[in-house]
Amino acid sequence: MLTDEALAAVWLTLRLASVTTILLFLVGTPIAWWLARTRSWLKAPVGALVALPLVLPPTVIGFYLLVVMGPQGPIGQLTQALGLGVLPFTFRGLVVGSVIYSMPFVVQPLQNAFDAIGERPLEVAATLRAGPWDRFFTVVLPLARPGFITAGILGFAHTVGEFGVVLMIGGNIPDKTRVVSVQIYDHVEALEYTQAHWLSAGMLAFSFAVLLALHASGSGKRKSGGK
């Protein structure tokens, strides 16, 4: 069935997707919040920038990441100055790439959720003595929970399915950057169709399960929401 190599790739993929999702929540939540609330002219450009990975071929993102995170690139210079070395061919590099690549899948559901909450619950909380952080944690977070669930699932699943970016900045190193999608690609390229099938079928089942969970939770919500 699955070789050790394949299992290592699965494990690595899950690790990557988990770390990425956590980081995406940390980075994406303030961005989504800002996008949902701001009236600044920067809203449109920032929104567009965040959404770029939706339309850009992943290889383009990967290529630019390879260049800017490389030793001569601006980010590469920075990470070297900070003593972190350069990011391509490292797990950390993949995390950075995945965070950028999956950003819209987290930011947009969150932004929608924040938009849907509106100003009123926050104003109510303010009149009930809750300060800005307090309001965020006790009102916004619970009310945006469905948005967070959607964002988490999409961010995680999208990272699992990521290929182009990893291909460009990963270097195909076992246990470090060889994720499932790359492994599948290798198998297909090497005409090892049986192995490719096992992993591909696994991915297919996983993706279906994720989307099923997403849709099921959505319809469940509708049912209990009606009164």
Partner: protein, 359 residues
């Protein structure tokens, strides 16, 4: 320093609010006006939900905003209670947790209103363990009021709390608001465009029009001003305060005694000595030079003409009467006024066709 002083100038999108209000430090002050008159903006500015640059606000001696000194206390640091038009309960919290939300954020030493008291005042004890989704509009609004009260506010602000409710729900809540009025020591600022609510609840009336306060004063006095009925239209009228002096069981009538005499109203079960308000609309008062014993009108009061003014329609005139100290306003035709030769100081009889007990 038991007063509220608010001076705001807010201008946005072609709308300007420009008010300088001095409100009593207790009782109910109504901000009355049509929609778009700026009453909600004014209330939001008092709450700090809207920052009116250059404004000043002090509440019973505490300064919450003075932009000349760069002082602006954010909403969450102002000890106020705010009730929005829609109840806006937190849907993810039970009624109890909704009520506790604000209270828990108030330091223990500042908690003067217990949760039980707030629950009891609004009669919501049976609802505590439910989720907001399962409450009716009226129940939600009562919870919202209790939630605001439970923070032991030093001022209570209400933005048309009844406007989103149907008549039956309004009737359900009004008695609770009256209780607040009677039992609370703190000032309440009540925004409304419904004259009946104002007549029932307010002690002090501010009339807003296009962002300006065109009148501000004690309710009875302000309602009796002749420049206001024009603005109030069909709802023009006065409110008198008195108490139930007598009940006529045979005819199911109650006599309300007030400074200038007494009036018979339908007995609605209000006990004797109870303090009540009656509202008399200008259109329900007619004027006679003689007391007519042969008419069906029950309430006829002796009065003197104080002032005459034109109404909006050229056929109508407004007459301010003084019934032994109680101000009344009558709306009659100008032809009648001419026929009776009404003038200041003339002794007349005010025939009152309808009196409403408003609380």
């Amino acid at each position: 320093m038991q007063s509220i002083h608010a001076r705001f100038r807010v201008a946005h999108d072609g709308f300007t609010l420009d008010v300088d209000l001095l409100l009593p430090g207790r009782g109910v002050s109504a901000l009355f006006g049509a929609s778009g008159s700026g009453k909600t903006t004014c209330l939001r500015a008092i709450a700090g939900l809207e920052h009116a640059p250059g404004g000043t606000l002090s509440v019973n001696g505490e300064v919450w905003q003075d932009d000349s000194r760069g002082l602006f206390v954010p909403t969450h640091q102002r000890p106020l209670g705010y009730v929005f038009q829609e109840a806006s309960l937190f849907p993810h919290l039970s009624i109890r947790r909704n009520l506790e939300y604000g209270m828990r954020r108030v330091p223990e030493r500042d908690r003067k209103v217990s949760l039980d008291h707030a629950v009891e005042l609004l009669g919501i004890a049976p609802l505590l363990e439910r989720m907001p989704d399962w409450l009716s509009g009226g129940e939600k609004q009562r919870v919202a009021i209790a939630r605001a009260l439970a923070t032991s506010p030093r001022i209570l602000l209400m933005d048309e709390p009844l406007a989103a409710l149907d008549l039956a729900r309004k009737q359900e809540i009004l008695p609770y608001l009256e209780r607040l009025h009677d039992e609370l020591e703190i000032p309440l600022i009540y925004v409304s465009h419904a004259p009946d609510e104002v007549a029932r609840l307010a002690d002090h009336l501010v009339v807003l029009e296009q962002g300006r306060a065109v009148a501000s004063g004690p309710l009875g006095e302000t309602l009796a001003r002749l420049d206001l009925p024009i603005r109030l239209g069909e709802d023009a009228g006065v409110v008198l305060e008195g108490e139930i002096a007598e009940i006529d069981q045979a005819w199911h009538l109650a006599r309300v005694a007030f400074a200038g005499g007494s009036l018979w109203v339908r007995d609605s079960g209000v006990p004797i000595r109870q303090h009540v308000r009656v509202r008399i609309l200008a259109r329900d008062i007619s004027i006679a030079l003689e007391p007519h014993a042969d008419s069906s009108i029950l309430n006829v009061l002796p009065a003197t003409v104080e002032e005459l003014a034109d109404d909006t329609h050229p056929a109508l005139a407004l007459v301010k009467l003084n019934a032994a100290g109680a101000p009344l306003v009558a709306r009659i035709t100008r032809r009648s006024a001419a026929r009776l030769v009404l003038r200041q100081g003339l002794a007349v009889w005010a025939q009152i066709k309808a009196v409403a007990l408003v609380g």
